[in-house]
Symmetry: C2
Subunit: 247 residues, 2 copies
Amino acid sequence: MLTSASHAEAPNAWTVRRTTAPRPLGHALDDCFSLAPVRQLKAKEPLFAEGDTKSNIYRIESGAVLIYKILNDGFRQIVSFAFPGDYVGLEMSPLYTYDAQTIAPTRIRALPSVALWRRAREDAAIAGEIFETLSREISDARRHFLTIGRLSATGRIATFLIALAHRNERKSLDAVDIQLPVRRSDIADFLCLSVETVSRSLTELKTAHIISLRGWRQIKLIDRDALERLAAGETMLDQGCHLKRAA
Amino acid sequence: MLTSASHAEAPNAWTVRRTTAPRPLGHALDDCFSLAPVRQLKAKEPLFAEGDTKSNIYRIESGAVLIYKILNDGFRQIVSFAFPGDYVGLEMSPLYTYDAQTIAPTRIRALPSVALWRRAREDAAIAGEIFETLSREISDARRHFLTIGRLSATGRIATFLIALAHRNERKSLDAVDIQLPVRRSDIADFLCLSVETVSRSLTELKTAHIISLRGWRQIKLIDRDALERLAAGETMLDQGCHLKRAA
DNA sequence: CGAAGGATTGACATTTGTCAAGTAGAGTGG
DNA sequence: CCACTCTACTTGACAAATGTCAATCCTTCG
């Protein structure tokens, strides 16, 4: 949800030829990477920069990576967060089109892009999984721009929190008590908001007893339905909104 | 620029790998479609709806198609415009994820999606071109969300006009006197603005003598540099802005 | 325990959306 | 060719949302 991912289970044309097997879940792409060497990075280390020749395609093993772009006016736009299992740089281009930097100690596997393309040409299963991953990236990107373009600050935050919850569910982690992997300013740069607005929206959700905060990185989703509604475009006023401003 | 496309030479990373050969432009994908039957549609006819089973992938021969989504709150979000040469529905998914409707009399070719995927499995050249097209869609989608998220109304309009100019250049049409293919409300729904704001921004550009308007659908780009700067994030005040409000 | 970075809050400016007129183009029938 | 009409567009006044700047308050970590 947050980035191009390997979480792979869209039923589609490519999997058709595998329908006989109970889990047409593709591991072919993953397998390519399991042979690749692991690289260990510290926090805040660059992985590559915009304009670099794209030599490798990466898969995150542990940690977290920020994919972003520095705009002319100096602002930073985060395009996606990459977490364990996610691929980075899969889209086909001769150069990296973004900057990438770790935000925590991170282990990655690097596979030379030419090697991957060669294998994709030879093995239709791999090509198919790349199609799937790219298709998912397209729909993620489009969903994200709906989020940015149409939702209020609070709606965007709600969307973000729901996405984190989903991610935790997929990984069998706690989807209620969520450990924020990023700082406020990262959220802001991802959702095209100012840090202040992110902060205000979180406070608003807290005041409405939809979430609760423990420290800066621990968030508890109390009323997930309300979050879903906000993410769907309802406003705080639409809802029966218990306590408009009780405080 | 405006949609997933076959028009293959946006000034970006993609052009680099083609610098050696003058036109290594792939026609394999196009060839697939040239055998497909043509369908004739009137203006305002639906091509498919969100949730329909994806039976066909389309290529526009003439006319124009709107790809959009109706949101919960009734708003319409236009995801892209598809013009002659563009593909529609290429991304891999078992269902259409958007609505599509013609905005003018349109001729399209329809290719069964299973047929295309089969050919892609057999022919690496076709698979490669699909990769490229999808990759371009990803970068278009991301560029678009930068536009939506970071630019003022005027900046977004400028971006849109520049994109139209590029499109016309690619097709050897007039890139200065531009015939708008869409209405204000389509621009608004594409750029996540209200119709009124679109109108005001156009008026502002006209007043600054950056564009001129002849009727509703004819736009002349007078100061393209200024447009480029606005699209890059500069504000009207940043520039030496001849005539702040001379009127 | 103190320092430094990160987060929150408040006051205010700016931008954009909304609602309500009003105007201009395009098409139609006389 | 003109009047009529419908739709698309423009403009204005105002409200709401968000960004900006500045001050202050937490947390974390050394």
